[in-house]
Amino acid sequence: MSGAVQTALAAPAGPARRAVRDPLVAGLVGLCLAAAAGLLVAPPAPYLVNALGQLAAFAILAVSLDLVWGYLGILSLGHGLFFAIGGYVCAMHLLAHGVAVTGVLPDFVQFMGWKSLPAYWVGLDHAPYALVLALALAGLVAFVFGLASFRSRVNGVYFSIISQALVYVAMLLMYRNDTGLGGNNGMTGFPLLFGWPMGSPGVVTGLAVAALLTLAAILAGTRLLVGTAIGRRMLACRDDETRLRTLGYSTTRLKLGIWCLSAMIAALAGILYVPQVGIINPRVLAPDLSIEIAVWVAIGGLGRLGGAVIGAILVNGLKFWLSAAMPEAWPFILSGLVLLVVLVLPNGLLDLVGWRPRPTWLRGAR
């Protein structure tokens, strides 16, 4: 790459101009908007619409992890926890909404022999409250865990392991039937979404469009964020936290803020995911699922938000297709992909096309 090109790529600019210089993100945002418009104008078969909507939810989840891992160097192996918080609260809303409209209690409540929804479900039939509760809960759990970890300087591999332990403990908790959250069967049989019958073509399309638009907004928003002074401090913190602290910046606050933001984005992904699959159970808290999120990001290209989206869509697209065709082979294919990326393409699939929005982003970190 010539010096002039480098200089042009690295030239200082306002955050907006910078985002435009990231053609991958700009292209993906455009693609999301076009796909959303396409679904509204000429929707394909509902199962395809649904698959697209689920992929968009996974892509949001991948972006949330890339934000903390790629830009801040914090590898969470427990992001499924925040995804699940969003998903569970969304499921509670859908069931509470169903009860409010139809008066019929969900199966698992009847199975427990209860005469009504548990007390703490109160108000969850109101969607705005459920949305705020989901995001606040994810943010709060992230805050408590992040504060404890970052203040005592728990970093790197230790943080990853503890985050994994956290999601595992949450899974054990959710397997219990007396939590009032469906126990090991989870929650399913959501009758209605905003009064509309779940599974009707309009609802399926609406959910997919909402997921695509959210993805576009999250992708654009996070890209703008990493282009600001805060984003530069994130990269600085990732590459040399002590150096940044000794320049007078509280890295604890920086990490905590971005960590909570990431958790809330993951919860948003869970909120969008659950009505599209129609079920949530403790399996979303399985440790291997949280690891898989990291795999999507690593495969697509760590530290490039567009790469995270590509990784999530590619791996999950492949999974949708292959786990139907040959389910036994999927774990081996996934492992093979990981090995390929680790050995051949250390910066992910974007290496294939020589994609380097800012050439040295990762070189210094490794």
């Binding site: 530069r232 990269l235 320049l247 210094g364």
Partner: protein
């Protein structure tokens, strides 16, 4: 007033005593060099002053007011202390200009930063390289960039850990001139260095450390005449 007082500082790593009751005082406007063989405890001394390592006992007073041993790195930096690390520590993913912008520190309002950055770029001679990612700089350029980063905050106490390590003779001479130009009545500079010629060129006084203890304090000429110092530096 004294700019910096290190008072009976003792640091231990497990059973190993890296600093053993070290004391020194630096006046405002002074350039002090700390010299000593490898492993003498020089970097450890800077680690304590900048809050990275906590001592077993002793105090480090900044401007007679603040005991730095009781503060975090962030608080110490905000009190006006900046430190250049022995291993050049710049942010590789950011450009030279972005590194300097971070170096300006949180208190400097954003609108004042471009001027400050421009003047620092001039001082460290990296103006033409302003938009290059720091990860691409040559070793000497990284050393200078890091000096620029710690300068950008206009520190009252500047700590420089081996600023000319790995530099050519010409670069060393330039760096000596740069450090001399940083001398100000309200600023104290503490430089750690092996290169005796360099120390002679920049320092008002030297402190010789050896195995965690102060061996000598005074002029460089005096250090050269001191038998114990000669013994420690034999062969240099």
């Amino acid at each position: 007033m004294t700019a910096l007082v290190v008072d009976a500082l003792t640091v231990a790593f497990g059973r190993f005593t890296a600093l053993d009751a070290v004391s020194l005082a630096v006046d405002p406007g002074e350039v002090r060099a700390v010299i000593g063989p490898n492993g003498a405890g020089k970097t450890t001394l800077l680690d304590v002053i900048s809050g990275i390592t906590k001592p077993v006992s002793g105090r480090v007073m900044l401007g007679d007011r603040i005991d730095l041993t009781k503060r975090s790195e962030v608080e110490i930096a905000r009190a006006g202390v900046r430190r250049k690390f022995q291993k050049p520590s710049v942010f590789p993913a950011l450009t030279v200009r972005e590194n300097l912008e971070i170096g300006c520190g949180p208190p400097l309002p954003a609108r004042d930063r471009p001027d400050r950055i421009a003047s620092v770029l001039g001082e460290i001679g990296l103006g033409p390289r302003a938009e290059v990612p720091a990860g691409r700089l040559a070793h000497g350029e990284k050393q200078w960039l890091e000096i620029g980063m710690v300068l950008a905050a206009e520190p009252a106490l500047l700590l420089l850990d081996e600023p000319v390590a790995g530099l050519s003779d010409a670069e060393t001479a330039e760096t000596a001139a740069l450090i001399r130009s940083l001398r100000r009545p309200d600023r104290a500079i503490l430089v750690i260095e092996h290169d005796m010629g360099f120390v002679e060129a920049i320092a008002d006084r030297v402190t010789v450390l050896h195995e965690g203890r102060t061996l000598y304090e005074g002029s460089m000429a005096g250090a050269r005449a001191e038998p114990r110092v000669i013994e420690v530096f034999l062969g240099r």
